[in-house]
């Protein structure tokens, strides 16, 4: 058994975060880990902030990642990683999509979207892997497979074998989308390696 991990997935509603965190949990279960996962839904419906905590180790008690202890922070939207930086452990890895989802209220409130957020993160010396996941998914024919591209991109960081990942995907992704999702996953792996 490899080491356990704390993985925090963040983004906005409707980005497929929950399926991605289900697949990670399944992979961890397949490898014999204890797993806990937590997310807040409720008021955070469409367009709201979404986060999903996944923790696996030999024995896990708390379903929540403590601030300062996330090994990997995966952001499905360009700026959202920044909101959750407090959760990252020192030296932890950020993997982020480049899609910007601009909240319409900014207009009403007269605020600006932080387009330069990736530079800001890099300037602070954070380890950031940037993946054009939405772009890659679109090229594969379905922008919704973006979540699987990101999953592929973090796959090497989580310590599971390719076999474990594939069986988890098989178990969790609806059959009719499996082919596309597997392709998207592989594409994510490649993109992360290249970056």
């Amino acid at each position: 058994m490899s080491e356990g991990k704390n993985v925090l997935l963040v983004g906005v509603g409707g980005q497929g975060i929950l399926l991605a965190s289900e697949v990670i949990s399944q992979a961890a279960m397949n490898d014999g880990f204890d797993v806990k996962k937590s997310e807040i839904h409720g008021m955070a419906q469409r367009g709201g902030v979404v986060s999903s905590h996944v923790r696996y180790a030999e024995r896990v008690y708390s379903p929540l990642i403590m601030k300062g202890t996330a090994d990997v922070l995966v952001s499905f939207e360009k700026a959202e990683a920044y909101r959750w930086l407090e959760y990252l452990k020192p030296g932890g890895m950020i993997v982020t999509n480049t899609t910007e989802i601009i909240p319409p209220v900014l207009n009403v409130l007269g605020k600006e979207y932080p387009h330069d957020i990736l530079d800001r993160m890099k300037k602070q010396g954070l380890k950031v892997v940037v993946v054009d996941a939405s772009d890659a998914a679109e090229k594969l024919g379905n922008p919704r497979a973006m979540n699987m591209v990101l999953l592929g991109a973090i796959s090497d960081l989580l310590g599971f074998t390719a076999e474990t990942w594939h069986s988890a995907l098989n178990m969790r992704v609806p059959k009719k989308h499996l082919d596309l999702n597997l392709k998207a996953f592989e594409e994510g792996r490649k993109l992360a390696k290249a970056s």
Binding site: I40, Y61, S62, P63, L64, M66, P103, N107, L109, K111
Partner: protein, 611 residues
């Protein structure tokens, strides 16, 4: 044994199925809703969305009288609604076992208060069990029925949001059938005329004594000894706080309590002997701490941990560190917890709000937009339509609890009546909320002749909690056809003479009705009927978005005043001059046409037409 990965709520559903439950009821409410949503896949269980929590408990109570194992689920404030049948259920006791879930919400993620329902179990003199994760949730759901039947009592199974909504590994078991015993014809037990109830009161006080004994032996309460020097610190913990603590402070000694009313005082005394210091760790109120202090134990609790919100892992850690620094607790200076979390990155240069808003195309929007013109007092209620309070609509004055919109309006009318401060009064209430507890208020308004206008926002679903079925939908919890409650007939039958049904997507018609009914001299009801936009997007025809013709737009920002997330402003340059104009974000637009209808210069039109 098959391993399942279940949320606390799904685990409870699985548990009651394995426990042989026959009847399960609920009214939706975060964070409890998913329990019945999962129960409905177990065909052996009759389940229903009840019209409110009191109804849910009484239906389950009837099933218990009939000798069936029965169950009800609700959010914490739902228990308030059900307190009447519940508190006397304690007196009668059960025939078939009865367990109900109170899903509490430390942190108020989507609730109106943070009440701690453990006090209600104590108040009702009934057992209280509290799981810390999904595996325990399933086990305790099953055990709850054994306790219920063993001691002839209703049992409260209390979760919190984190227990209900976090997932963990659960071992699947089989269903154990419990044959329905048949109706218990015992009027000395079930008819609580004073002569009987007095006798029952003695019975339940004896029961409480037995439960106290049981609490000490119950396997849900156990000592989990620590190691090293930390073992001298003894933490008494229950629910999710135990899980956080085990990760943050793993070597302390724990008294893990799953059965928390009545408390196991003997076991606590035994535990106290093994440690130098006793700490009570509990979210919200000092429920256990107060009782322990009263019993003479020297314990710390709320001196260390916050009483409001959740005690999240980092808050727990911080609290312990602070308590150690101020010498409240003895943790040596070289202890690793002092180093943990030292290097957290706290960005201060980030300001990207994503607040909840009415969805693009939400049928609730138009009513508030129209009400802005007339500026009546608006007593609101609980549901998606509560978001009408937020700017730019800003059209709600009050929101207290389910159903209060109608009755608060009656009172506001009566309070102002005959003074020089009279204002028109409008109540806004959703269809599900109206059925839950608006009907009796409307009866009151008619009977007592309060001149108010009730707008029933009928989007054909219980949207706020994720779209559950209700009696005015013509569908059961399992989506089977069901008799449909006709809201307008109901309103007429209670004596409202002015009842209008209007399509909120037709702004002119809606606005006219609102203007007229506010002026009317008697109680009136407007039913705004249009399906929830999320249902339309899921099941309706393909959406054709609207677009703004920038040449026609004069930048008056009327459409921005709708607060639709799909409408934004853009800076454009016309003849060298900077102007602000509106623009529709096409992929967000659901084609409701409201903005097009209110645009004074007809600059907004459906996309295909403009091509």
């Amino acid at each position: 044994m098959e391993k399942l990965f279940l949320s606390g709520n799904e685990a409870i559903a699985r548990g009651i199925w394995e426990a042989g439950v026959h009847v399960a009821t609920a009214y939706p409410g975060t964070p409890s809703t998913e329990i019945l949503e999962a129960v409905r896949f177990y065909k052996e269980i009759y389940c229903e969305w009840s019209s409110n929590e009191k109804v849910a408990v009484e239906v389950a109570q009837g099933a218990s009288m009939a000798g069936a194992r029965s169950f009800a689920a609700m959010k914490h404030v739902g228990v308030n609604v059900a307190m009447d049948p519940l508190s006397t259920f304690s007196y009668t006791g059960v025939n078939g076992g009865f367990v109900f879930v109170s899903a509490d919400e430390p942190g108020m993620h989507s609730s109106q208060n943070e009440q701690d329902n453990r006090y209600l179990a104590k108040f009702m003199l009934i057992p209280l069990i509290e799981p810390a994760d999904s595996a325990e949730a399933k086990a305790m759901a099953i055990m709850g029925f054994d306790i219920s039947e063993m001691f002839c009592t209703p049992v409260m199974l209390r979760t919190t949001t984190r227990v209900s909504h976090s997932k963990g590994i659960v071992e699947a078991g089989e269903r154990k059938e419990h044959d329905v015993k048949g109706f218990e014809h015992d009027w000395t037990k079930w008819v609580v005329i004073p002569a009987n109830a007095r006798k029952r009161r003695t019975v339940i006080l004896n029961r409480l004594k037995q439960l106290e004994e049981y609490s000490n032996e119950c396997p849900l309460n156990y000592i989990d000894p620590g190691s090293g020097s930390d073992a001298k610190i003894g933490i008494i913990a229950s629910s999710i706080a135990y899980a956080y603590a085990k990760d943050v402070f793993p070597d302390a000694s724990y008294l893990k309590l799953g059965f928390t009313n009545p408390l196991p005082f003997k076991l606590i005394a035994e535990f106290a002997k093994t440690v130098d210091q006793l700490i009570v760790l509990e979210e919200l109120e000092p429920f256990m701490q107060e009782q322990l202090l009263a019993a003479g134990f020297k314990v710390l609790g709320k001196e260390i941990f916050p009483r409001e919100g959740e005690i999240l892992p980092e808050i727990l850690l911080d609290s312990l560190k602070k308590a150690a620094k101020s010498s409240l607790i003895a943790i040596p200076a070289d202890h690793p917890i002092h180093k943990a979390e030292a290097e957290v990155i706290k960005p201060t240069d980030f300001d990207l709000p994503r607040p909840p808003t009415l969805c693009p195309g939400c049928p609730h929007r138009a009513s508030y937009y129209s009400l802005r013109k007339y500026k009546p007092i608006v007593t609101g209620d609980i549901g998606c339509y509560t978001l009408g309070v937020l700017p730019p609509l800003s059209m709600m004055d009050t929101c207290i609890c389910m159903g209060a919109s109608v009755t608060n309006a009656v009172g506001a009318f009566k309070g102002l009546h005959g003074t020089d401060k009279v204002e028109p009064v409008v109540a806004t209430i959703g269809d599900s909320t109206f059925i839950h507890s608006g009907i009796t208020g409307l009866v009151d308004a008619v009977y007592n002749q309060a001149n108010l206008t009730v707008i029933i926002m009928d989007n054909g679903t219980t949207a706020m909690t994720g779209g559950q079925q209700h009696p005015a939908m013509g569908k059961s919890i399992r989506n089977e056809p069901a008799p449909k409650l006709i809201l307008e007939d109901l309103c007429r039958s209670v004596g409202v003479r002015r009842v209008t049904v209007v399509d909120p997507y037709d702004f002119e018609a809606l606005d006219k009705v609102i203007a007229e009914e506010i002026k009317a001299d008697e109680p009136s009801v407007i039913i705004t009927r249009r399906e929830c936009v999320l249902d339309r997007l899921r099941f309706g025809p393909k959406v054709v978005p609207y677009i703004v013709d920038q040449d026609k737009c004069v930048g008056c920002k009327k459409c921005i005043g709708l607060g639709c997330p799909a409408i934004v402003t853009v800076d454009v340059t016309v003849n060298g001059k900077k102007k602000v104009k509106s623009k529709i974000v096409e992929f967000l637009c659901t084609g409701c046409s409201l903005c097009a209808q209110i645009c004074p210069v007809s600059a907004i039109s459906i996309k295909e037409e403009s091509k």
